[in-house]
Symmetry: C2
DNA sequence: CCCGCTGCATAGCCGATGCCTATGAACATG
DNA sequence: CATGTTCATAGGCATCGGCTATGCAGCGGG
């Protein structure tokens, strides 16, 4: 781009110029743009000096454009219109009337938490496009770092090799055991101990699900390696397998609740298992305005009010 | 300073903004636009304040556009490009690389003087469009006043009801008598007296030609009313009639010279008839740059060939 | 015929603003 | 921990745009 010489030449001057061209009268044009007549005259003169050509024929009481002025007028109008458009475009982004959020979330969050939240957000800001990327926390972290996501809902703790992300704990969800309603309830006295899982047929998610890592880790902590009747598959598939009586599965309570009535939900015995869902974004760039608004909404503050407020403080990732 | 729509927002700032967006680096952008880094930072900040949105994500060594910046960039580029275009457009007019001259001229001038002059002018300024309007002096004066012409070559004196026009005498041209080479020469001793016209068959132009008024007035001054064998028709038609032997005609010498060899040219006896061709334009508005240049060429450099008093043969009569 | 009115240009002053240099702060690196 | 890089901030200076007052050129009314 050739920014050869933008030089002095002000939007003001173009505004004044157009005003005079329209009013064909300096004094009235000056009133029009709310400036004194001498100031306007000076700026017109300055513009003429800058461009090296007279723009108006100053015949007493009959101001007309010269050919140079005639040539300038349409461009001046367009420039001013563009400036106005620029202002409005930016304003629309600021006012959340336009925009885009690229949101990453883990499958269980997508299934459990997101629909309601996004419904509310979209209701408030119908002009914002919502792009959801479903994936394991590991993938989401990578996408955040790449700049492919503005925001992500993922599971803490973050994978070791996480780039600089800012995370805010959002909620903790209990994990529960789901089993087919047509089979005997797992566990003892209405609760399932981790140790019980050694003897239960387990249906397990594919690699990449945080739930898988969490469950396996819990079993190992109890001193056994879990074995799976069926493994691999997304959330819906796993629930389907369980519903079919192939085994039991450990899933977030939120998911279990929504899973339907032919599935039995059994809590895990104390201390049980829980996991922390957090909101994350890159530390080095502020998310777009719309994403910040969604963030605020997720963190529980009233959508209109300023952020910060209640939730847990940010923590490095 | 309230300025509702345009507000403070400078071309400089947009230039700086685009530079930073392209360099993704404040310091280098500052060098690019030849300004100190703090100045550039300040202006960017001022622009952000003005627009009410951050334009860049300032991550150390990784400056990126925010969504607001992304929205602004194309408009900023276009505005700067338009400003550049405006500058060049006006410059082209000033440098006579583009433009238009609306030139009025009487038929005899169109036939005699103009072709050579316009050839020269067009050779020097090929980008200037030349719009010629042929008409009687009366019409030309009216068109000048309406602003439909920039410049006119007409015959002095001007009609009585002339608006404020500035005229400069350009040249005086002798009128001569043309007759068919195949008929006896009119007049006596190689010259025609006005009085002789009473007994010669006259071919006369249509109403509106200055030549008509001039010739008729001369006859009346000699005490007779001329009668016409043929009348009405433009210059070429009149010459054709004369060539066909229908009569003789009084025409500018310049025209007679170019009329061809089957026409005889006889001077009028002293004092003869002559008329003054002048260049005229409105007094209240300066003609466009290109028209002024043509004016200069006409006044300053009398083109070679059958011009002015110094043409072929004595200009006196 | 002079006078006042209209309408743009000019003069002089003042506050605002941009640019500069110097310096600070945050982060990366050896 | 010292150092370098990079953007932000501070203070001084000159410029510049805006204002009021005034000048000057036509034009119309008394």
């Amino acid at each position: 781009m050739q920014r050869g010489s933008v030089g002095p030449m002000h939007f003001q001057q173009l505004t004044y110029f157009v005003a005079v061209a329209e009013a064909r009268h300096f004094t009235r044009a000056a009133e029009e743009v709310h400036v004194s007549q001498p100031s306007l005259s000076q700026q017109i003169k300055a513009l003429e000096r800058e461009l090296g050509a007279e723009l108006f024929s100053r015949a007493r009481g009959n101001i007309t454009l010269t050919d140079a002025g005639e040539a300038l007028l349409p461009l001046a109008r367009r420039i001013l219109a563009d400036a106005d458009t620029a202002r409005h475009e930016v304003q629309e982004l600021v006012q959340l009337r336009r925009g885009r959020i690229r949101l990453g979330a883990t499958p269980s969050v997508c299934t459990g938490l997101l629909p309601e939240v996004l419904r509310t957000f979209h209701g408030t800001h119908p002009g914002i496009r919502l792009l959801i990327e479903e994936g394991g926390s590991h993938d989401l972290v990578r996408e955040l770092a790449r700049g492919a996501l503005d925001l992500a809902l993922l599971v803490l703790p973050l994978p070791a090799a996480s780039p600089a992300l800012t995370t805010v704990e959002l909620l903790q969800e209990d994990l529960v055991v789901v089993s087919s309603a047509g089979r005997p309830a797992p566990g003892r006295r209405g609760a399932v101990h981790i140790a019980d899982l050694e003897n239960e047929p387990l249906v397990m998610f594919r690699h990449g699900y945080d739930l898988r890592e969490l469950t396996v880790a819990a079993c190992r902590a109890e001193g056994f390696e879990p074995s799976f009747t069926v493994e691999g598959g997304e959330m819906d598939a796993v629930l389907g397998f369980v519903r079919a009586g192939l085994g039991i599965a450990v899933v977030p309570r939120m998911v279990a609740v929504r899973a339907g009535q032919d599935l039995r939900t059994t809590p895990l015995a104390s201390p049980g298992l829980r996991r922390t869902i957090a909101l994350a974004h890159r530390s080095d760039v502020e998310p777009p305005r719309a994403a910040r608004e969604l963030q605020r909404m997720l963190l529980g503050a009233p959508p209109a009010g300023p952020a910060a407020g209640g939730g847990p403080g940010p923590s490095g990732g």
